[in-house]
Amino acid sequence: MKTDAGTKYRKERIDRGIKARAEDIFALSSLQEMLYLLAPRAILVLGLLILPLYLGMYGKKVLINTAIFALLAMSWDFLFSVGMVSLGQALFFGVGAYIAGILHDSLKWSPLLTIPIATLGGGVICSVLLAPILRLRGVYFAMVTLALPLMFVRIIEATRIFGGTEGIHGLTSLPSVWFELYLSLAMVIAVLFFFRRLINTDYGLVLSGIRDNDQSVLRSGINIYWYKMQAVFMASAIGAFAGAFMTHAYMFVGMPAFELDYSILPIAAGVVGGTGTFAGSMLGAFILVTLSEILRGVGGVRIVFYSVLLVIFIVVVPEGIFHYLQRKYHQFERWVKVEE
């Protein structure tokens, strides 16, 4: 509310006139509306493709790292959309990383072969590992996913398999930094659009039905555990890809692949960016990783600044930055006179 020369004004928010936005039928009537819907997507894709051209070597490496966290964040967001709160993206990451490392080390297969195999193999292994706990919900599921990667670290440490505490060194890197960059960015874009499309299909509706009311889905004669398993497979395959990719990008795989960072940062990204849209968690990952790089100059108190900023994000935009931006994009505001 503002007052100007005795007249009161209030802010009015109006939704832009594309009616069918909530449904999957888009009634596109004009070029203008088409551009309106296309613009944010085009800016994102072109932006990601052009950005690397203006970055130095260090910037490129940061961008690759960001893309990896964006993949993990979207993988977390997808599980969350199906009602599974995962605290263990590190499990997917670590399993993928080790599969690629071991295959490459023992069989000398090219990274172009080990990465796809680790992606699918990681998906299968993680699905099998999590299959017994798909019946657990909420915090119980979360605790098991948190424990599994920690357990793997200890097993590797104690039994000294897969290089033990030393890890496996001297692995072949990917052909060039450009290849690394565009492979990871292409994967981010592909996963983003795949998930966004998938969740709006009828299959996706069943998946989100499991989160909202799993009993109602059971009553409909649908085996929710089988559907959850499929969701875990997709999410873990993406996490495993990220891990396998990093194995070759770092030319090393070791116990850090199961580090807690890979579990926690994706969740923070989802919360900061906003869950359920995948674009939100991706945006969150970009913000958080960039922020952490910028703060590197601050030194030891970096983590304090980082935490404070995290809290500010969550308090100021609790719905998530992406939801906020989306709302603003689809609305326009104007001041109207208050009738008295």
């Binding site: 449904e23 509706l205 069943v206 909202d212 009311n213 009993q215 059971l218 009553r219 004669g221 929710i224």
Partner: protein, 252 residues
């Protein structure tokens, strides 16, 4: 499926939660096409009994035979797949979606696909037809409205439509009429009557006795988890024990 025994046979079903005997060896039988009403005071075990039959709880003892097949302790989705479909007392629809999208999940089930000869058909169109059948006026675009904008009566009808979408052989309605106005009730009764004419067997848990007694062939009364009476609607309230359960005992 052909068998000469009862359509549904429940024998000595019991469920205990800690110190509470929620359902205490309840037995009853049901013939195909019958409508059985289940009544009883709050906490008498009606909903627990439904959860036991539909697989949401596993019974401590007892058996449920459906068309001669033992379905005790099967997973809920398997029981639904066999054709026993329930509604929930508390409606929890997808509030953010248009109303008809709420029917997509049952229409996506393997059972519907099987019965339709291996293909699903146009789910959106089928969903809108089903909603119209339960009284969502298509002309006024009610099926397309956002679910959160619908009044309670529509949500209850949607719950019914979700079970009809499964093409059930038997429907278990858990307090479908609760919270409905007389007018809404009057518009829902014909839908249920139509289902019985189509040969669907129905179990109704209800507190709205007048309406229940109009539709039910038989009524069973539960109290403290035990069956205390079972009779035709006209006579069921005459039992002394039923009067006591509903009205309490006289203070002497």
């Amino acid at each position: 499926m052909k068998n000469n025994g009862p359509f549904l046979q429940v024998s000595n079903l019991s469920k205990r939660f800690g110190g509470v005997q929620a359902v205490d060896s309840v037995s009853f039988e049901l013939q195909q096409g019958e409508v059985l009403g289940i009544i009883g005071p709050n906490g008498s075990g009606k909903t627990t009994l439904i959860n036991l039959i539909t697989g949401f709880y596993k019974p401590n003892t007892g058996k449920v035979l459906y068309q001669g097949k033992d379905i005790t302790g099967l997973m809920p989705y398997k029981i639904a797949d066999l054709g026993i479909v329930r509604t929930f007392q508390m409606v929890r629809p997808f509030y953010k979606l248009p109303a008809f999208k709420n029917l997509i999940i049952p229409l996506y089930s393997p059972r519907v696909k099987r019965l339709a000869g291996g293909k699903y058909g146009d789910r959106d169109a089928i969903a809108i037809d089903l909603l119209e059948e339960v009284g969502f006026e298509r002309e006024s675009l009610v099926p397309y409205k956002i679910t959160s904008a619908l009044p309670h009566g529509y949500l209850k009808r949607m719950e019914l439509a979700q079970s009809i979408a499964m093409r059930p052989e038997m429907v278990i309605l858990d307090e479908l009429f609760s919270g409905l106005s007389m007018a809404e009730l009057a518009s829902m009764l014909p839908i249920i009557e139509k289902m019985t004419l189509e040969g669907v067997t129905i179990i109704m848990v209800e507190h709205r006795l007048k309406e229940l007694f109009r539709i039910a062939n038989r009524v069973m009364v539960l109290n403290h988890g035990r069956k205390i009476a079972e009779d035709i609607p006209k006579d069921v309230m005459k039992s002394e024990e039923v009067k006591k359960a509903y009205l309490g005992t006289e203070v002497t």
